[in-house]
């Protein structure tokens, strides 16, 4: 309870105008990147990662949190208005929202998306704050062998989630682990893989990998499939007239969706957020499918169901809260955005873990406050103020946009360490990630392999060292056994269990 109250007290940091400015600025950046098809909030945070070297940790974390929340919500804007999801997590919103748009009720659909996002985001953050002290207590029970099995669980789940590309997922993860082994060994002061150069003795920083994998590769991918859809999107956007008063959903529609539906979607999103590698798309899809299977009006689905929009948007924003739990408590990111936020923590010398909550609550609380206020105030406020202009975001020339992204990515790589070598590394990783993306290798697995690889190695070697090299410790230690069994259960459910045929399956 004390920790919960400490976190609430930490919200006061948001009263500082400069921190508040970072929150609002981050929200606007996240809204822009989330709404623009092809851009994501992950890319936004990746591009701003170098900036975190030059500002304090509190505004950096506050900004990341508001980008995360905004990016998850704003994908629904272009999904609804022009049927192009701004982010993958808004795919189900596009199915329902654009149908309402075609019926002349686009503003109403945007209103329901914003309300669902608001409720989901708030509940997800409250659940995060309420359960984080419990998670911290539980994490104290996990010893070294258990930590190894937990990291292994995370890596295995991340790989098998994409069950059609498991071998490629393994390759991407191992590549990340191999890149992470460059530099000083995790336990002994021995340089590895520096090939006689001093530059590589310090290892490879997360920043060029993030910028290369998410920004440079995106510019190259766009360059490859270049056809500026400006004329087409402008044509679609030109006839749209959206009035502010239409954004407010009538109470009768909200009652028809029901409080329980919002709560259920929020809990589903939060739970999926905790799972490594699952992310907003899965949260939205599962919640949508559950809502559809239990709906009183299943015939409305696919034809503009407000309940479907609410379920999908509520879940993907609630996921934001869940994704922070494994990252803050165990250093295991639930999705690529929290993986980059983990980078921000590490850059600022903060080590995730149960002690973080006790010793650094003053640093974490503003970030959680930013998540909460972004959901509660900025989502509805931005819709009210900017809603009528949202759709014009897509009319920005893509050539200009990607030129700007290339410049900010490269200059950002330079400013973090004033090193041209970092710029070159970002391009090298960008080219590699470009080819990987072309061939369906997951760049998220690459990043998470890079982040979790050193932990996996350290815990494995420590556990064996403490037990005279006896590998049975991983089976005899209860916490380790728990995570190994959990890994096996997940592998069975994801790989072998056939899904029940529901309405979605029947509809193809």
């Amino acid at each position: 309870m004390d920790t919960f109250l400490n976190l609430l007290t930490g919200f006061s940091a948001l009263a500082d105008w400069s921190v508040l400015a970072f929150m609002v600025g981050g929200f606007l950046v996240g809204t822009f990147f989330g709404a623009m098809p092809g851009l994501t909030s992950v890319l936004a945070i990746a591009l701003l990662l170098p900036v975190t070297y030059t500002i304090d940790v509190v505004p950096a974390l506050v900004m990341c949190a508001s980008i995360f929340m905004a990016g998850m919500y704003s994908g629904s804007i272009t999904a609804t208005t022009i049927n192009i999801p701004g982010a993958p997590s808004s795919m189900m919103t596009a199915v329902e929202g654009n149908q309402l748009m075609l019926k002349g009720q686009g503003a109403n659909a945007l209103g329901h998306a914003a309300l669902g996002s608001m409720i989901g985001g708030c509940i997800g953050t409250v659940l995060l704050m309420a359960f984080m002290p419990v998670a911290a207590e539980l994490s104290l029970l996990i010893r070294t062998p258990g930590k190894f099995s937990l990291v292994l669980f995370a890596l295995v789940v991340i790989i098998i989630v994409d069950k059609d590309n498991i071998a490629k997922g393994v390759v991407a993860t191992l590549l990340g682990i191999m890149i992470a082994t460059v530099g000083i060994d995790v336990l002994q002061p021995i340089p590895r893989f520096n090939f006689g150069t001093e530059t590589l003795v310090e290892g490879i920083d997360i920043m060029p990998l993030v910028i290369g994998a998410f920004a440079v590769s995106e510019v190259l991918t766009q360059a490859q499939s270049w056809n500026d859809p400006l004329a087409r999107t402008l044509e679609k956007a030109r006839g749209l007239v959206i009035r502010r008063r239409d954004f407010i959903p009538p109470m009768s529609e909200i009652r028809a969706i029901g409080l329980l539906a919002y709560l259920r979607s929020a809990f589903i999103g939060y739970g999926i957020g905790i799972l490594p590698g699952a992310g907003g798309s899965m949260a939205a899809f599962v919640s949508y499918a559950v809502a559809r299977s239990g709906s009183k009006k299943p015939e409305e689905y696919g034809k503009g169901s407000r309940e479907g929009i609410a379920a999908a948007e509520c879940a993907n924003n609630s996921m934001c809260g869940g994704a922070f739990v494994p990252m803050l408590m165990f250093g295991i990111p639930g999705d690529p955005t929290t993986a980059i936020v983990l980078g921000v923590l590490v850059i600022n010398g903060l080590q995730p873990g149960p002690r973080l909550l006790e010793s650094q609550a003053d640093l974490l609380a503003p970030m959680l406050g930013s998540l909460f206020l972004s959901a509660l105030i900025l989502i509805p406020l931005s819709l009210w103020l900017l809603g009528p202009y949202f759709v014009r975001i897509v009319s920005i020339p893509k050539g200009l946009l990607y030129t700007a992204i290339a410049v900010v990515a490269l200059v950002g790589s330079y400013v973090a360490t004033y090193s041209v070598f970092q710029m070159a590394l970002a391009v090298l990783f960008g080219v590699l990630a470009y080819f990987m993306r072309q061939q369906n290798y997951s760049t998220v697995s690459l990043l998470l392999g890079f982040i979790l690889g050193p932990d996996l190695e350290e815990y494995l070697r420590r556990a064996l060292s403490l037990n005279d090299g006896n590998p049975m410790i991983f089976l005899t230690s209860p916490d380790s056994l728990f995570f190994l069994v959990l890994t096996a259960i997940f592998a069975y459910v994801i790989l072998f269990r056939k899904p029940k045929r529901g309405p979605l399956a029947r509809d193809g």
Binding site: L175, M178, A223, P397, G399, A406, Y434, E457, S465
Partner: protein
């Protein structure tokens, strides 16, 4: 002949490239020597060797699958524009310090806009975009965040 030509596609070349990287990595891992070792102590080379062996196995599966069911491949002509972007970016990195932020970024933005075929027929709009991109990020990094960007031609002296 067609079968042989098919081997030169990204679906095959990428895992082959990664095989070569893994081989260099594995060879280098044998040069790592431990400073001390006790009972049950894993040496600093153990995990790299294990990772390399697992990588070989995973790449073998990827190659086997790729040869049986070829994935969609990028046509060579589609690679031209990304290759130009990489070339322009390499030149930008090479000239960033010698020329300084402003001239190098003006040139880089202009080249990228030409690659993306944006407003090349309206020079005044084109120039506005180039100057706008350069000035915006100068303002962001140097103005707002106080970062010291390379000054014009400082690297030449």
């Amino acid at each position: 002949m067609g079968e042989r030509a098919n081997l030169f596609r990204a679906g095959v070349l990428l895992p082959v490239f990664l095989l070569a990287v893994t081989t260099v990595y594995l060879a280098a891992s044998f040069d790592i020597h431990t400073q001390f070792s006790g009972d049950g102590e894993m040496s600093p080379r153990s995990i790299p060797i294990l990772a390399a062996l697992l990588m070989y196995a995973a790449l073998a599966v990827v190659l086997w699958t790729e040869l049986r069911e070829p994935s969609d491949s990028i046509a060579l002509r589609d690679m031209a524009r990304p290759a130009l972007v990489v070339l322009a970016t390499s030149a930008y990195i090479f000239l960033f310090r010698p020329l300084g932020y402003i001239p190098s970024t003006l040139a880089y933005s202009a080249v990228l806009l030409i690659i993306f075929r944006l407003e090349t027929r309206r020079p005044h709009i084109f120039a506005l975009y180039v100057i706008g991109v350069t000035a915006t990020f100068y303002g962001l990094f140097a103005g707002i965040f106080g970062v010291r960007l390379p000054a014009m031609f400082e690297g030449l002296f």
